[in-house]
Symmetry: C2
Subunit: 410 residues, 2 copies
């Protein structure tokens, strides 16, 4: 099925609002095996929109519009879509009942907004639970138009809970992607380890990506139905996991802190951080995960030398001798956490976020009285460095725990 | 000048890459007073791109393309643009010299990439300092095409440092927007205070926006040149600042933590946080600001009751009597920070991030032995709540300092 996506909204053309709907729908269309050859953004203008839809219908089987449905936008999009397919609108009882309820039987408001309840008789109407403008899929002679609301918080739930199952009946192929999230390994190292799998995988395909701070392997399967595609992906994921072992820390949206939390929970381990350069970012990431309070009781932000000495008990001598950004200080920070706070695992950070040596960072990692340190030389601006240190420290601690736990088992 | 933007790239249509270039260029065109009536995304396909450019040239004075310039993409876009305007390409000496240098005089590589050095004789060529593909503005009979590279990190510097000044000669109007960032005031409250200014401002216009966690007033001026527009904005900003006073915490990209840092620096005040629900997020935000180490020496993440008692010295009795999420605990956390750490300012947080009472948060604020507490009832998911608490706490502390400082002055 050939699809064209049209985003409607003058605010998009002005650059006030970034259009993310079109990208979202592109991914969804690919999942159904539909082909998107073109996307368009136009303003809230009936004539221009009409022209786009009319032309689009000549080349495509399905036009999807987003936006231009609200009462203030005068329902441009809906009218335009219906006109293009030669559809008359009648009052939709379900939408009307919703409107009456919404405006609390206020007759004046209801009549002022009644256009929102008008749909072609044979339209498949989708209820908008997060806004007032319902939307629909309409059809004439095998040509279809789906019009969806503009706000992503309204559009996405409607698509996922109502539209997708309707469109699935037209799907010939199902194309699904999932990702494995990789930590610690560099780009080259990761590719070397799975090069043969990448090269020999045609369906599913395996592609490495380096997005921002994330290293991922994307596995994409094409099959006649969703379940088959998912099964194919599951098998390939296992093959990659067998190869990469503990470097795979999660799938899809899973973050490194969620992955660390799972390990803490599984092995019932308490954790604590003492952070200089990261300034509480690691603790804050961990606290992002619901349930972490069972394992993280406290942490310290020891940004100054005096805080490292007074709060944590690092020796002034160590700082004087080796400098505060040093392996020795990172090591001692972990040592003191074991002594003073009796935790199972700990992370310390000390480094330069700016200045001449910006990006030089020492991380200390502790697991049950084993201490290791790590020297990092990172690039980029202040907050990128701090974020990278945080993610790397969490990934390294996770690996350290897993390696030690597997050794303890023998 | 009428402009159409065309983003080229199959990866865009597949949803692998979010097109942010078109939005960026929309804003830039608006700044020049150019009108963008339509944006298009097409794949790496010569025929489809040709059709789009050809049609676009009929309706517009300028077509801007991004993407499809790299050697692997076979220079589709450049060839297409030149063909559409009937332009022959010849070897561009400057690009050629750059290529020779890039490939270190390796004749085979140079010949393999020589297409990248071909441009129409009368093209205005823009050098790409962040990639190999140079780009250009070409013209025929008053119709113009500007082709730019796809990666934003290449496209934006070229636009800002080279293209903008060329396009400025065609600018009739200059339209510029700036924002004032507002804290603490709710949507309704903010609107009430500046309603008359908003209504009476035609040029510059003033528009309130509520984006994510940000409340802003956007001021947009239209003038014959950049400086006049900036002057008009400056005047309107002052009018709004006079009205909203300390609730304006910054402009454009300035964050609340940067604004707090400025206040700490101006009045030479030390700061510390003791965080339960925010788990180090407030400290981490402050550490985002370069130079904060002069004012923030340490902070505590006291996530558990025992940490509040042992690290900070909160009385077990207070927690038992009032509950750990209470005004009394927030108050005592600030009190203990004054006693134990002798800081000028401090922030404490205690609240529920999930569960039945999710979003109930108490914030304690301290400024030179004055303590105040704040009860918040927030909505949304865990991390939204934590982020809101952090921003609100920083904004409230800033206000508390400014109010007290202005009182001290009298």
């Amino acid at each position: 099925m050939k699809v064209q996506i049209i985003a409607v909204g003058t605010e998009l053309l002005l650059g006030d609002t970034l259009d993310t709907n079109s990208n979202y729908l592109s991914i969804k269309m690919r999942e159904l095996g539909f082909d998107v050859y073109k996307r368009v953004v136009v303003g809230d203008n009936y004539d221009r929109l009409y022209k786009e839809i009319e032309e689009g219908l000549q080349q495509n089987d399905l036009i999807i519009t987003t936006g231009g449905l609200g009462p203030t936008e005068d329902d441009i999009t809906k009218k335009c879509c219906c006109d293009c397919l030669g559809k008359k609108m009648v009052l939709n009882e379900k939408s009307y009942a919703k409107l009456r309820k919404y405006f609390n039987e206020d007759e004046k408001a209801i009549q002022g907004n009644i256009k929102q309840c008008m749909f072609p008789e044979d339209a498949i109407v989708f209820e908008n639970f997060n806004g007032t403008a319902d939307c629909a899929l309409i059809e004439n002679n095998g040509k279809r138009i789906l019009f969806l609301p503009g706000p992503p918080a309204e559009m996405k739930p409607i698509y996922e809970n109502q539209v997708q199952q309707v469109l699935e009946q037209f799907a010939t192929d199902c194309i699904i992607s999932e990702t494995l999230n990789i930590s610690i390994l560099g780009e080259w190292d990761m590719n070397e380890r799975v090069k043969d799998i990448i090269e020999s995988s045609n369906n599913p395909t395996v592609a490495p990506y380096f997005k921002k701070d994330k290293r991922i392997l994307r596995i994409t399967a094409k099959a006649s139905d969703r379940q088959t595609a998912l099964d194919m992906i599951a098998k390939k994921k296992q093959e990659l996991r067998d190869r990469l072992g503990m470097y795979v820390f999660g799938e899809n949206d899973e973050t490194i802190e969620e992955s660390v939390y799972k390990v803490l929970k599984e092995h019932d381990l308490s954790i604590m951080t003492s952070e200089s350069i990261t300034g509480g970012m690691i603790a804050s990431k961990l606290v992002n995960v619901s349930g972490v309070s069972d394992y993280l009781k406290r942490s310290l932000v020891v940004y100054s030398n005096e805080a490292k000495i007074e709060l944590l008990g690092v020796k002034a001598e160590t700082i004087d001798t080796y400098g505060v950004v040093s392996e020795n200080v990172a090591f001692e920070m972990v040592e003191r956490m074991f002594e003073k706070f009796n935790v199972d695992c700990s992370i310390s950070t000390t480094g330069f976020a700016s200045g001449e040596n910006a990006g030089l960072v020492y991380v200390g990692l502790g697991y049950k009285n084993t201490i290791k340190t790590l020297k990092l030389q990172l690039h980029g601006e202040r907050n990128k460095i701090r974020n990278r240190v945080s993610n790397r420290a969490l990934a390294e601690l996770r690996l350290m725990i897993l390696e030690n736990v597997s050794r303890e088992t023998f």
